[in-house]
C-alpha cells in the first residue's frame, strides 16, 4: 500500500499559514494605507529616539533594563506571536476550510500553559540575556553556548526569511510598492529600531502593534457579528449556504494519529524553544512578573484566535461570492470564486467590506506594522546570540565589558538586517512554506531539550547536551529535507523518503534519548562536577536567590 501522504492544507503543511508565498500581483498605490503607515513609522521612530536615550548598558540593550511589567511583556509576547502571516494566514485558512482553521490556531496556543508551568520562572531565575545562559549555567560554556547560539541563529534566520518574503509580497499587495523596495524598507526600519532602541524600543513597537492589531480585529469581528444580531448560528448558517456544510467540521488538517502527535509536539516544544520568545522573559524583574506575562499573553493570543475564526467566517459571508472582490480574470480561467490577491487577502477584503476605504487602510497599515515588529524581535534575538553567546562567552571567554558587547550586538544587528534583505530578495520566488515548520522543528528538537533538561535533570553533562542536542538538530533538519515539504514540494521528487511532514515526534525523541545516553555514560571528572553543581542551580531556579533584579534607579 502506498504510504499515506498527509494532505494538510494543500501540500505545504500546517506551517504554510505562517508564510505568505506564491506569486502575487502588485496593486495600485493605496494612499490612505500609506499615510496611516507613515504615522505608525513616525510614532515608532519617536519611541526609538526616546528608548535610545535610555539604552546605555548591555542590560538595557538586551532586556530593556529588566523593568518591563508582566502586562506589558504579555502584550509584547502576544505581539511576537501574532505575526501578519498568522493574522492573514489563519483567517484565510478559516475562510478556505472553516473549522480546520480553528484546529490550527489551537495548536499554536497550547504551548503557552506548558511554558508557564515548566520553564517561565526557572528561565527568569537562572538567565540573564539569552536562553543559552540557562542551558550553559553549570555546563562548559564554549561548546554549549556555541550549540545554543547556532540553534538560535538558525531558527531566527529561517523565521526571518519567511517574514521578509511575506513582507515583500504583502506590501506589494497592500501598498502597491515594488517587492525589493518593500523588503529594503522593512530591513532598514528594523535595523533602526533595534540598533538604536534595543529591547526597549522593540518591546514598545511590539506592544503598540499588538494593541492596534487586537483593536482592528475586534472591530472586524463585532462588525461581522452585528450583521447577524450576534447570533453565531445565523452566521454559520449563512456561511454554510455560501459554501457547504463541510466547513463546520474537521477536514483534512489532522488525518492520522502520528501526524497529530508529532505536530502537537512541534508546536508545544517549538514555542518553548523560540529564542525571540524566550528572550522576553529576561525583560521582567522577577518570577512573579514572568508568570503574569504568560497569563496575559495566553489571554491575548487565545482572544486573537477566536477573533480570526469569526473574521474567517465573516469573509465567507461578506467577501466570498461578492463581485467587488472577485478576481474576474482568474475566474474566467479557473472558475469558482477566486478573490483578488488570493485567499490570504480574505481579512483585508473583509476590512473593506465592513469599514470602507479608511478601515482598509488602517488594517493594511497594521499588517505592515506587524511585520516590522516581528522581524525586529527576531533580529534582536539573533544579534544577542551572536554578541552575548558567541562573541562575549565563546570568543572572548567572558573577558569583555558590556559596552564592547553592546557594540558587537549593534554590528550584528546591522549585518543580520542586510542579510535578511538579501535573503528576502533571493527567496522571492522560492517555495518557502517549509521554513517556519523547520524553524519550529529545530527549536523543539535542539533548543528545548537542552534547556528543559538543564533545568530539571541533575545528571545532564556537557557531552550529553552537546551530542544529544546536535543529534536532535540534525535529525530535524534531515527529516524535513527528506519529507514531503522539501523532497517533493521544493525538490520536485515524486515521493518523499520520510513520509511525515512533521518530524518532531522523531527528532525530539532522538534529542532526549541522545542527551540521556551520552550523559549517563559520561564518567569524566568534569561530568561529576557538573552533576554536583546542579544543587546550587536548582536552589536558585526555585527561589530566585542570586538572580539579577531590575535596574536600580
Amino acid at each position: 500500500m502506498k504510504p499515506i501522504i498527509f494532505l494538510l492544507l494543500g501540500s505545504a503543511g500546517i506551517f504554510a499559514g505562517e508564510a505568505i508565498s506564491g506569486a502575487v500581483e502588485k496593486q495600485p498605490l493605496n494612499m490612505s494605507a500609506i499615510i496611516m503607515f507613515l504615522i505608525f513609522v513616525g510614532a515608532t521612530l519617536a519611541i526609538t529616539y526616546w528608548a535610545a536615550k535610555r539604552t546605555k548598558t548591555a542590560k538595557d540593550f538586551y532586556t530593556a533594563g529588566g523593568g518591563i511589567t508582566g502586562f506589558q511583556n504579555g502584550m509584547a509576547i502576544a505581539g511576537d506571536y501574532m505575526s501578519a502571516a498568522s493574522f492573514l494566514g489563519i483567517s484565510a485558512l478559516v475562510y478556505g476550510q472553516g473549522y480546520d482553521g480553528l484546529i490550527y490556531s489551537i495548536g499554536f496556543l497550547v504551548g503557552w500553559p506548558i511554558i508557564l508551568f515548566m520553564v517561565a520562572e526557572q528561565l527568569r531565575n537562572l538567565g540573564k540575556y539569552t536562553f543559552a545562559d540557562v542551558a550553559s549555567y553549570r555546563l562548559r560554556q564554549m561548546p554549549i553556548r556555541t550549540l545554543a547560539a547556532f540553534g538560535s541563529i538558525l531558527t531566527v534566520v529561517l523565521y526571518l526569511i519567511a517574514q521578509m518574503v511575506g513582507a515583500g509580497k504583502l506590501i506589494q499587495l497592500l501598498f502597491g510598492l515594488d517587492y525589493e523596495i518593500a523588503v529594503i524598507l522593512v530591513g532598514v526600519l528594523m535595523i533602526l529600531y533595534v540598533t538604536f532602541g534595543g529591547m526597549l524600543a522593540t518591546t514598545w513597537v511590539q506592544i503598540i502593534k499588538a494593541f492596534l492589531l487586537l483593536s482592528g480585529a475586534t472591530f472586524m469581528a463585532i462588525a461581522v457579528m452585528a450583521h447577524y444580531n450576534f447570533n453565531f448560528e445565523s452566521l454559520f448558517a449563512t456561511a454554510v449556504q455560501m459554501k457547504d456544510v463541510s466547513i463546520m467540521s474537521p477536514g483534512k488538517l489532522v488525518s492520522d494519529p502520528i501526524s497529530a502527535i508529532s505536530l502537537g509536539i512541534a508546536l508545544m516544544f517549538g514555542t518553548a524553544g523560540l529564542p525571540h520568545i524566550l528572550m522576553r522573559f529576561f525583560t521582567v524583574s522577577d518570577a512573579k512578573e514572568a508568570r503574569k506575562s504568560v497569563f496575559y499573553a495566553t489571554g491575548f493570543i487565545g482572544y486573537f484566535y477566536i477573533l480570526t475564526f469569526i473574521i474567517g467566517f465573516g469573509a465567507i459571508v461578506l467577501v466570498f461570492q461578492n463581485p467587488q472582490y472577485l478576481d474576474l480574470a482568474k475566474q474566467a480561467v479557473d472558475g469558482g470564486y477566486p478573490i483578488l490577491g488570493g485567499d490570504n487577502m480574505a481579512a483585508i477584503h473583509l476590512s473593506h467590506a465592513v469599514g470602507g476605504d479608511f478601515f482598509l487602510g488602517f488594517i493594511s497599515a497594521v499588517a505592515f506594522a506587524t511585520i516590522l515588529a516581528v522581524v525586529s524581535g527576531l533580529t534582536l534575538a539573533g544579534a544577542s546570540a551572536i554578541s552575548h553567546d558567541l562573541y562575549a562567552s565563546v570568543i572572548k571567554k567572558g573577558k569583555t565589558d558590556g559596552l564592547m558587547e553592546m557594540k558587537v550586538s549593534k554590528i550584528a544587528t546591522i549585518v543580520l538586517g542586510i542579510v535578511a534583505i538579501f535573503l528576502g530578495i533571493i527567496f522571492e520566488d522560492q517555495n518557502i512554506a517549509f521554513m517556519v515548520g523547520l524553524a519550529f522543528a529545530i527549536a523543539a528538537s535542539a533548543n528545548f531539550p537542552i534547556l528543559f533538561l538543564s533545568m530539571y535533570w541533575s545528571k545532564l553533562t556537557t557531552r550529553g547536551a552537546l551530542l544529544g542536542g546536535s543529534l536532535g538538530l540534525l535529525t530535524a533538519a534531515v527529516l524535513v529535507i527528506l519529507g514531503p515539504t522539501v523532497w517533493v514540494d521544493v525538490l520536485g521528487n515524486a515521493q518523499a523518503i520520510f513520509p511525515y511532514k512533521y518530524p518532531a515526534l522523531f527528532s525530539v525523541s532522538a534529542a532526549f534519548i541522545g542527551i540521556w545516553f551520552f550523559s549517563i555514560t559520561d564518567s569524566s571528572d568534569e561530568a561529576a562536577k557538573e552533576r554536583e553543581a546542579f544543587e546550587a542551580q536548582y536552589v536558585r531556579a526555585q527561589t530566585g536567590i542570586g538572580a539579577e533584579g531590575a535596574l536600580e534607579h
Binding site: L102, I103, F117, S249, A260, Y305
Partner: protein, 104 residues
C-alpha cells in the same frame, strides 16, 4: 551562591515544601493541558465525525465549535489557576525562604 547557603536552603523545610507542592501542581496542570489538547486532536485523527455532529437537530453549529473554543478557554483558565496560586502561596513560601537565607 556559597555552598553553605545552598545547604542551609536545601535543608529548610519551607524549601522542601515549596519544591514538592509546586512541582506537583505544575505537573498536574501540564498533564491536564496535554490530555485536553491531545484528546482533542486525537479525536479528530481517529473519528472526525464526532466533532462534526450538529449541536441539536436542524442546527448547523457543530459540537466542534464549543469544544474548540473550550480548548482555547481551558488554556487561559489553567494559566490563571497557576498564576493565582503561585503569586500567593508559592511566593509567600519563597519570601520566607529568602528572609531566612539572608537573615542568618
Amino acid at each position: 551562591m556559597k555552598q553553605e547557603m545552598v545547604d542551609r536552603i536545601k535543608n529548610d523545610p519551607d524549601f522542601t515544601q515549596l519544591v514538592r507542592v509546586r512541582s506537583k501542581f505544575a505537573w498536574t496542570l501540564t498533564i491536564v493541558m496535554l490530555v485536553i489538547y491531545f484528546g482533542f486532536v486525537l479525536t479528530i485523527a481517529f473519528d472526525p465525525s464526532i466533532l462534526g455532529t450538529p449541536l441539536s437537530s436542524g442546527s448547523v453549529t457543530t459540537v466542534g465549535i464549543p469544544v474548540g473554543i473550550g480548548v482555547i478557554l481551558s488554556a487561559f483558565i489553567l494559566t490563571g489557576i497557576y498564576v493565582r496560586r503561585a503569586n500567593g502561596e508559592f511566593d509567600e513560601l519563597t519570601r520566607r525562604i529568602k528572609d531566612k537565607a539572608k537573615g542568618e
